[in-house]
Subunit: 338 residues, 2 copies
């Protein structure tokens, strides 16, 4: 068993309360006594029980982060970068992170209830916001602090960081149009995800402004993974009237489309142009480098934690809804059509 205040009390002959106050540096303990106590603590390798501290103080110094395994986005490097960003900042502020995986539907909510209702966390960071997001409703109802990565549509005044992905996809699509493309495919996901909805809008708006009709035949719906991007890419690029360019809703699917194009013997940037979204490190090092929107996800992770910290500790949040402008990087995956 580990050593507790009680043991230090026995060792030194002082009372538990004096030990505690000595360790915490209160002024009503004799410097000589404190020294003895500190030495004993060091000698016996005393570390205070975080659990007891938490119960007593009512503070857990822990935030929650549930990985939405629902919908398959396992191997997305995006998440680990985000998590390290959050973690590095949390560590700086002496906070811990409780991570879980959350299913979907009622099971998802149950997971949140257990963690939040059970008082294990002081706040949460929520990713992959959905159009009607039960998590947000629940957290609002229970007055639990949270920050979203991505917006929601059915509640105003909830704090978030998001990238204006409507504009982002619009810029990319427009870039394709300006490069001469008229037949531009789109690989996306079901639009219960908020960011998908915005990206879909961006795609359609860019087309509309250029006077190009929206053609549902060259819009495919997948699940954000490399594999999905590849199979949908194959589908699109095998058409006899295949598009000369493809906008993918994220980098992973774009890189999947790379695989499809290469399998079909098409040269990317010449036979077919491709764009992505996220700016994962692979996008830069793909061949050819991928035109995409660069999202500084590690930095965003840090900022998400900072905002949550302020919210939890009732500090002034400043801007609580941060919509970052997209940063497009134009690379060789886009060229003019033949």
């Amino acid at each position: 068993m580990s050593v507790r205040l009680k043991d230090l009390a026995k060792q030194t002959g002082y009372s538990i309360s004096t030990i505690s106050r000595a360790l915490l540096g209160y002024s009503d303990v004799n410097p000589a006594t404190r020294k003895k106590i500190l030495e004993a603590a060091k000698r016996l390798d005393y570390y205070p029980s975080q659990i007891a501290k938490q119960l007593r103080s009512g503070r857990t110094r822990t935030i929650g982060f549930l990985i939405p395994t629902y919908g398959e986005r396992f191997s997305d490097p995006f998440f680990i970068e985000l998590l390290t960003g959050i973690g590095d900042m949390a560590s700086l502020m002496d906070y811990d992170i409780l991570v879980g995986t959350s299913g979907d539907g009622e099971k998802e909510l149950e997971e949140y209830r257990r963690v939040v209702g059970g008082g294990r966390v002081e706040g949460l960071i929520i990713t992959r916001t959905r159009i009607r997001d039960q998590r947000v409703s629940y957290l609002l109802k229970t007055h639990t602090p949270f920050i979203l990565l991505g917006r929601v549509l059915d509640h105003k005044n909830v704090p978030y960081i998001d990238i204006d992905s409507r504009s982002g996809i619009k810029i990319l699509t427009r870039h394709l149009i300006e490069s001469g493309h008229r037949r531009i495919g789109f690989i996306t996901t079901p639009d219960d995800l908020v960011f998908t909805k915005f990206r879909n809008q961006g795609y359609r708006e860019a087309l509309k402004e250029a006077g190009i009709p929206y053609d549902p035949d060259i819009v495919e719906i997948g699940n954000l993974t490399l594999e999905s991007g590849k199979s949908l890419g194959l589908k699109l690029l095998s058409r006899k009237d295949r598009p000369t360019a493809i906008v993918a809703v994220n980098d992973l699917m774009a890189l999947g489309t790379y695989g499809a194009a290469q399998q079909l013997g098409l040269t990317i940037g010449r036979d077919v142009s491709i764009t992505g979204y996220d700016g994962i490190s692979l996008s830069k090092n793909a061949h050819p480098p991928l035109t995409t929107i660069e999202v500084p996800i590690y930095e965003i992770g840090k900022q998400l934690f900072e905002m949550l910290y302020k919210l939890i500790n009732h500090e002034n949040l400043g801007e609580s809804q941060i919509l970052l402008p997209p940063k497009a990087v134009f690379r060789e995956s886009v060229g003019s059509p033949a």
Copy 2:
């Protein structure tokens, strides 16, 4: 404030202990009373304080997982897959995961002391084991249950799961040799990492068995990232006596080398052959697909948790040191030299 047993007691008129026993399903409470209590609990949205439970029971039902940010392996998809594997199994067994980022040196140990000494976790999963690993020594000293992903060399009898990466790299190198390569470069990392040490051995042994002298000039040392792979790949492939094949110590660096080769106008699989290690989903979908060792990291994550669970709960662990045979997948990134 959230509703506690006390509140249920007030509401229903029963005592706290009866409420507790009713909720826990003990037999010495009248079915009618239990029903009333359960209803009240539901109505008032009662969720037990996990903290109090933990303090009382001495069990936290939480394991620790510290991401080693030291040494840059941020955007490695490997880690998020591992974490989801651990998380999914933990969720099944009603365990939570405390995630932190850990620096290096004394700071790293301090992080472990805080979490372990503070009694926040019942056990840990340790990744990226190092030759002389202070974490292992500490955990042994404090009798904290843990499972390693990867072996350590200075302690026998510590439980781990590892892949025999010496054999793995050996198979890949031999495959290159059998394809006709004699000049085979190696991109690796400093060998304080255990797995690097084994992989280095595998490389050298394969060369030796084929009677090829080890040439330090074509062995480069980096840091497991895509960028590092690219710059070292450039270095190797720009030599006038450039190797006809390159063994990279992980997929990310191999894919970085892809970028280098492509930048130099070399065709992979023809002008230069490349192998990786890990089998991340990108390896399959790269162009050309990468010859590598496939590591079922999600499954390993699940198994790691299972082992840790048994260790914590004093169940029979069975085999406590699991060395999985490498599973090589031979793909088009390897061809015969010109």
